[in-house]
């Protein structure tokens, strides 16, 4: 409990929360009404199958329908009890025993038991399911044998009784709970409904979350409150999700009060900050925009070149002028809102003289040629490189920027066919993953995009992965990050500032750094000023 408090404190310090009014509303909670929410990551809904897609629009809707053993606290991103009301972890961190809430119901009325979790985990891992998230379970004992079809069940998962589930790991994983809490990572589904509905389960999911599906179409998903939900809430009767991929569309819909909340784009941020000053929530998302150097190439072996790149750019000014303050200049690899963020890390401040000197020392007095590939995305693609180009030129970097479509871009990044690339990385709430992806045993496709290798850092991360004490583990991650930043395979550009705007009648929204649209809608309520307060 103490640890949680510490973490929460740290987060309150580091999160930039503009609107406290929304969170600490003193009014009594009002029940009823409909909330209309835009799904901003695409213009249609295609599926609600949370494990067989990684479409963000699907995830933000489906996370309200599904429920697992544990779930992230929306603000602190620490795994909290969900259907598992408590758990024991063995001293060696290898055996997890989960004790389930009694009386938790599926949407079709049956009680959730430990057996359902075993079924759901095996369904997730089964290669015939084709789940993109299957690897969240890979540290469980017997996972390999199961996916290779040498065994008909995952040996490490044992049902002790209806309300007790034991999971034995095959190798130590200090953040196993984080894996289970990932959206689509460990949700429970009823076997009989999955089998009855077959492929239709993708658009008629039955689970145990706070909302159940009322209707699905490409253009609108309607969820209604699940009256037998085992926790408090939901307070609203229903949520309507409408896909709206364009910020201009969301703007028109928000201003004409057709939607109740909206995420805010860079172009809207300035005017919204003035118009809706008290109705905005801001947070540094778990994403970082950066430029990666291909460490397999001879020209990047000298770390002075990469350091020079980091010193060359005035990030502060670019964030102010180009990003119009809808970003935070990056210090290192870990965003400010993470528990493993190191507030004492110095990073690289703008120093053109030092950049030039470092390049000269490295033997590139007459300039260093570099080709950067990226997408057309304005905040994490080639336009963002172009914003930095004058600075880079001044320091002696001769940049050639090449725009590619995302598919080609990622094909080349994963195959290592590039000199440098720009993108936005991250998203995982687990505080060790961001650095952990860069150890030398991880493939490019697995997240070590630059093929980075730093034996000293590898060693520290190996200790972090074994450490069960959260505080100590964070210390290890911070130590690893300082090595990473000192010998940087990336230019650490900036963190995304996610902004959510809402009409004044919406209450209970919170700054969620994992993804601003992952709101705890079961805790949200609307007052009588809403045009949809009654239906």
């Amino acid at each position: 409990m103490m640890k949680k408090k510490c973490n929460a404190l740290l987060l309150i310090l580091t999160l930039t929360v503009f609107s406290a009014g929304n969170i600490f509303a003193a009014d009594a909670i009002r029940k009823g009404g409909t909330l209309v929410v835009p799904a901003p990551y695409g213009n249609a809904f295609t599926t609600l199958d949370i494990i067989r897609t990684a479409e963000l629009n699907t995830m933000m809707v489906a996370e309200n329908i599904f429920e697992g053993l544990v779930e992230y606290d929306n603000v602190t991103s620490i795994p909290e009890p969900a259907i598992a009301e408590k758990w024991d972890i063995s001293a060696d961190n290898m055996v997890y025993t989960f004790f389930l809430h009694k009386g938790v119901k599926f949407h079709h009325g049956r009680e959730v038991t430990a057996q359902d979790f075993k079924y759901s985990f095996e369904r997730l891992a089964n290669p015939d399911t084709g789940a993109y998230n299957a690897a969240t379970l890979k540290n469980i004992k017997g996972y390999e044998a199961f996916v290779n079809k040498e065994s008909d069940q995952i040996k490490g998962i044992t049902v002790i009784d209806d309300y007790t589930l034991r999971i034995e790991l095959g190798k130590p994983d200090a953040e196993f709970l984080y894996q289970l809490a990932v959206v689509g990572g460990g949700d429970v589904v009823p076997k009989e409904e999955v089998e009855r509905l077959g492929r239709d389960f993708t658009i008629k999911p039955v689970a145990a979350g706070p909302f159940k599906l009322k209707s699905f179409s490409g253009n609108e998903v309607v969820l209604e409150a699940f009256e037998d939900y085992y926790k408090k809430g939901p307070y609203i009767d229903s949520i309507v999700f409408r896909p709206m991929g364009e910020s201009i569309t969301r703007q028109a819909a928000f201003e004409s009060e057709e939607i109740d909340i909206s995420n805010v784009s860079t172009t809207q941020y300035e005017s919204y900050s003035k118009r809706y000053k008290d109705q905005m929530i801001e947070v540094a998302e778990f994403y970082i925009r950066l430029i990666g150097f291909n460490m397999a190439m001879e020209k990047f072996q000298d770390k002075r070149v990469r350091q020079a790149f980091n010193y060359a750019v005035d990030k502060e000014l670019i964030v102010e002028k180009y990003y119009r303050n809808k970003a935070y200049p990056a210090v290192g690899r870990i965003p400010t809102s993470m528990a493993s963020f190191n507030p004492t890390l110095a990073g690289y401040s703008y120093n053109p003289e030092k950049a030039k000197a470092l390049l000269k020392e490295a033997g590139y007095e007459n300039g260093f040629e570099i080709e950067i590939i990226g997408s057309e995305a304005s905040t994490y693609g080639i336009p963002a490189v172009e914003a930095a180009m004058p600075y880079l030129a001044k320091a002696g970097f001769k940049v050639k920027a090449v725009t590619l479509d995302e598919g080609t871009l990622w094909d080349r990044i994963v195959k290592g066919e590039y000199e440098a690339f720009i993108s936005s990385l991250g998203g995982e709430p687990s505080p060790t993953t961001h650095i952990g992806r860069n150890t030398s045993d991880v493939s490019r496709g697995g997240g070590n995009y630059t093929a980075y290798s730093n034996p000293a850092m590898d060693e520290i991360m190996a200790m972090a992965n074994k450490e069960t004490d959260t505080e100590k583990r964070m210390q290890f991650v911070m130590a690893a990050e300082s090595l990473f930043v000192e010998d940087p395979p990336y230019f650490f550009y900036n963190y995304n500032k996610a902004v959510l705007v809402s009409h004044p009648w919406v209450h209970g929204l919170v700054p969620t750094p994992a993804e601003i649209m992952y709101q705890p809608f079961e805790k949200v309520w609307i007052d009588s000023d809403s045009p949809r307060a009654e239906n």
Partner: protein, 314 residues
């Protein structure tokens, strides 16, 4: 007549086959890993999981085998399963089709009626104030980018006046259709108006018009029977040809108005390398083009019997 139609229908088969083959090869050659890209915003996946997904979708087979499998399924009416969503491609297209047809139909209705009326009036009253105004409007209609027009309509009619819903499909209710179809149809309408006007001006000067007038026919009969009917051939050609590009432009309008149509399904699937969906959508579009062409051909024969005569002789 039915013989001509049947012959044209037979041409559909090789066209569709060729289109599907070219598409399949192209999609297999462009860089981009389907299994990886389906991972969306979080861009990493462990090697083993990716490999298992590749095996599940049959992506490790050589291209000819994959094509053969695809065609075998297609012939039994199975368009495959979408990698990105794990749903049947046919279902995905079926869900989007009404929205697309509704939008294209609305835009066409707006463009054809508006274009014919404006064009005819300007053609008959050449040089009048109406003529000048409508042709200025036509130039504007062609030059204004449709996403901008869409945004302006949205701003005035939804945000400022609150008359129309700003976006969405609304399950097919008319008030949702008005702004998207004007946006999509504006350029199309302008084009039809200009072509109508030009061909009426041409037809006006033909000798048979003079003959009709000198026979003492009333001005209305001359206009309807002699000028309009003869002026219609180029207009029908333009309407037919442009209907195809209307399908292509839906993407932009779908984006601005969050309209759940085929265009965006196609574009998003291309970016994610969701090959079965791309295949399905493109085949559908090729098929629509063929049908539209066929309809235009039939319409020609109706308007100008000489064409039917020529076709029958072939």
């Amino acid at each position: 007549m039915s013989r001509i139609i049947l012959k044209k229908l037979l041409y559909f088969i090789p066209t569709l086959l060729a289109a599907s083959l070219i598409l399949f090869v192209l999609l297999s050659l462009i860089p981009g890993e389907t299994a990886f890209l389906s991972g969306s915003k979080r861009k990493s996946m462990d090697v083993e999981t990716m490999e298992r997904i590749r095996i599940k979708w049959g992506l490790n087979d050589p291209i000819p085998i994959r094509y053969a499998k695809y065609m075998r399924n297609l012939l039994t009416g199975d368009m495959g399963i979408s990698f990105r969503t794990n749903r049947k491609v046919f279902q995905l297209i079926k869900e989007r089709l009404p929205a697309t047809l509704f939008l294209v139909g609305g835009a066409m209705l707006f463009a054809v009626t508006g274009g014919l009326i404006l064009g005819a009036v300007s053609g008959i009253k050449e040089g009048s104030a109406i003529d000048i105004a409508s042709m200025l409007g036509a130039v504007a209609g062609i030059s204004i980018p449709n996403f901008w027009l869409g945004m302006m309509l949205m701003y005035f009619f939804s945000v400022k006046l609150g008359w129309l819903p700003s976006s969405g499909y609304g399950g097919g209710s008319l008030q949702y259709l008005i702004m998207p179809s004007i946006t999509l149809g504006a350029a199309y309408m302008a084009l039809i108006a200009r072509v109508t006007r030009a061909s009426i001006l041409d037809a006006k000067n033909f000798l048979y018009v003079q003959t009709a007038r000198s026979k003492g026919l009333s001005e209305n009969v001359v206009r309807m029977k002699h000028i309009f009917r003869n002026a219609m051939i180029p207009v029908v050609t333009v309407i037919g040809l442009q209907l195809g590009s209307l399908l292509a432009y839906t993407v932009v309008v779908e984006k601005v108005f969050a309209w759940p149509g085929i265009g965006l399904l196609l574009v998003n699937s291309i970016f994610r390398r969701d090959v079965p969906v791309v295949q399905g959508c493109v085949l559908f579009i090729v098929f629509s083009f063929l049908v539209i062409n066929l309809l235009v051909d039939i319409l020609y024969m109706y308007i100008d019997p000489r064409i039917k005569y020529e076709a029958n002789r072939l």
